[in-house]
């Protein structure tokens, strides 16, 4: 009961926040983005033990899929990008919203398919090799897109702008992220209780043992990564609408920014827990914005120091620390009751 109440209060805060703090709407939207990418990274990184540094690939790909779908519904994409801002291309509100409604799921599905294909190759790698392999995929993805003129090449691509006023636009983007984030959270909450959830935990703890017990390890690994990619891709699609103009290397396939941030969020909050990525994303975002505001010029140093401190002293994050200090809160205790068998 108290849990339900807790969720209801959080839900109310989520709905009220953008109206209570209108100046922070974009900040709050970015916070939701961090929560989504952290939570979906944790699905493979924390729950399954496959630390991907390439999940940003799905973010960038999601952005480009959104652009291609939204623009392609109305104009030929090559002509649109070829004009390089020279031509006049208008989108009616109907075209804009249809594009939005179709491209967000399309981006998710496309990225899930990409995850299946890339995963089939990269899941042969273990541990640090998987991390480096997937990082390579993300970097290669950015380079490939920046050489592909049909979708704008290195110049990037522009999305149609929101047909109504700008304040409303920020609110819409906030709620798109929020809905996706909440959907992801409850999806994970359900998924981690299923046998599938247990199977990916088993892969994390001892993959050879899981194989020896007859678990379909490859199948589950691919499905987990595809689900993760679906949500990152969909979040990327929303980002595409939010940013309006984006280019491949710094915005879409931003390996050193968002690609690393999502990992740090999870490490801060606690790998392999449901709430860890959410708490970690909030902590990280607050830390990042504070340093960006008050230590400008030193912000990267502060961020680097944070990463070092987390990796050296708090590898299990906040949730891991609590689990260690207060195991009984997590139900880890000797049960002296007699077996009722």
């Amino acid at each position: 009961m108290s849990k339900t109440l807790f969720y209801i209060i959080l839900g109310i805060i989520t709905v009220i926040a953008p109206f209570a703090f209108p100046a922070f709407q974009t900040q709050l939207a970015t916070l939701w983005l961090m929560i989504i990418v952290a939570q979906s990274w944790d699905m493979t990184g924390g729950q399954m033990g496959y630390n991907s540094l390439g999940n940003i690939f799905f973010y960038g790909t999601g952005m480009y899929v959104a652009a291609v779908v939204t623009i392609g519904l109305v104009y030929p994409v090559g002509e649109y990008t070829g004009a390089a801002g020279g031509g006049i291309y208008t989108f009616t509100p109907d075209e804009y919203f249809l594009g939005m409604a179709l491209s967000i799921p399309a981006a998710g599905i496309f990225c899930a398919l990409c995850a299946f294909i890339i995963g089939y190759v990269t899941f042969g790698l273990r541990g640090p090799y998987f991390a480096i392999g997937t990082l390579g995929v993300a970097i290669a993805g950015g380079e490939m897109v920046s050489n592909w003129d049909w979708i704008g090449g290195g110049q990037g691509i522009s999305m149609p702008s929101y047909p109504y006023n700008f304040d409303q636009f920020k609110t819409v983007i906030y709620f798109l992220y929020a809905i996706l984030g909440i959907a992801l959270f409850f999806f994970c909450r359900w998924l981690y209780q299923t046998r599938f959830g247990a199977a990916i935990n088993a892969i994390r703890d001892d993959e050879e043992k899981a194989e020896a017990m007859g678990i379909h390890t490859m199948r589950y690994k691919l499905i987990a990564w595809a689900i993760s990619a679906f949500f990152v891709g969909a979040a990327g699609a929303i980002s595409a609408f939010q940013l309006i103009h984006f280019e491949p290397l710094e915005t879409a396939y931003q390996t050193i920014n968002l690609g690393i941030f999502m990992v740090v969020c999870v490490l801060l909050g606690g790998k392999g827990t449901l709430w860890g990525p959410v708490i970690g994303a909030v902590m990280f975002h607050v830390f990042k914005e504070l340093t960006w505001n008050y230590f400008l010029g030193w912000q990267w140093v502060a961020l680097g120091a944070l990463i070092v401190v987390v990796v050296v002293f708090f590898q299990d994050g906040l949730m891991g620390y609590l689990k260690y200090k207060r195991p009984e809160w997590f139900g880890i205790a000797v049960d002296t009751k007699e077996a009722k068998v």
Partner: protein, 247 residues
């Protein structure tokens, strides 16, 4: 009794080291078969060959009449041929009940079943087996925090949970204190008689293996040295020499 595992003329070498040379043996359905031999005689290599950890150089391995020497580890496990490890392998960050639930026989689950929660019956079964091996009280502790002997018991319970046809046990009593060993022998025998699981056991503890096995194979230097009933093996001069180092 019929043959369930049929190993014929299997050889396996690692580079220049011949770990197994021309090994042939059979495991009878429903029985307890033992495999003994001095350290480094190739027992674990043979187990690994059977469950598909590495390709064999020559020979054939049949399970229920089906050739399995080319199959992969999970495929063989899904046929119902399961092994436990000499160094225990459990899922350290999960508690005992979760360890048990993850060991549900996935060969009997469809893809849709994997996206369901574990049922009350699954949990009851998990707790029953934990009680069977004496870990009921510790069922909510993280498996990684259990002692080595307890982890062995947990691994055994997990194997039972998987409902195997044949269970290959690699030194089930190593690292377990002597008082627990008697309990374990009893449970292994019950697993065999009550649950009808065929056992194939590597064991160094002679008292244990002589007590349990119907038939024993003895390896030395990667070759089959002797086979027979426990009584025959105990009297075999070659076995005694191998263990006491007459070679």
């Amino acid at each position: 009794m019929s043959t369930i595992i049929d190993v014929s003329s299997v050889s396996k070498s690692y580079g220049g080291v011949k770990a197994n040379t021309d090994i042939s043996l059979t495991v009878e359905t429903g029985g307890i078969t033992g495999l003994i031999g001095p350290n480094g005689s190739g027992k674990t290599t043979l187990f690994n060959s059977i469950v598909g950890y590495h390709p064999i150089d020559e020979g054939s391995i049949k399970f229920e009449g089906q050739e399995i020497s080319k199959k992969l580890v999970p495929e063989i496990a899904r046929l119902g041929l399961l092994r436990t490890f000499q160094q225990t392998r459990i899922y350290g960050e999960m508690n005992c009940v979760e360890n048990m639930l993850i060991s549900l026989p996935h060969r009997k689950l469809s893809l849709m079943d994997a996206f369901k929660k574990n049922t009350r019956a699954d949990r009851d079964k998990a707790e029953q087996f934990l009680d069977f091996v004496g870990l009921y009280e510790k069922r909510f502790l993280q498996a990684g925090s259990l002692s080595f002997g307890q982890q062995k018991l947990l691994e055994f319970a997990m194997a039972l949970m998987n409902e195997p046809t044949v269970l290959l046990l690699d030194e089930p009593t190593a690292g377990i204190n002597p008082t627990l060993i008697n309990g374990l022998i009893d449970r292994l025998k019950r697993a065999n008689s009550e649950f009808g699981i065929t056992l194939f056991i590597i064991e160094h503890n002679m008292r244990v293996i002589m007590n349990m096995a119907d038939k024993i194979y003895c390896l030395a230097h990667g070759e089959m040295l002797a086979e027979g009933t426990p009584a025959e093996i105990q009297d075999d001069q070659r076995v005694i020499d191998a263990y006491l180092g007459a070679h």
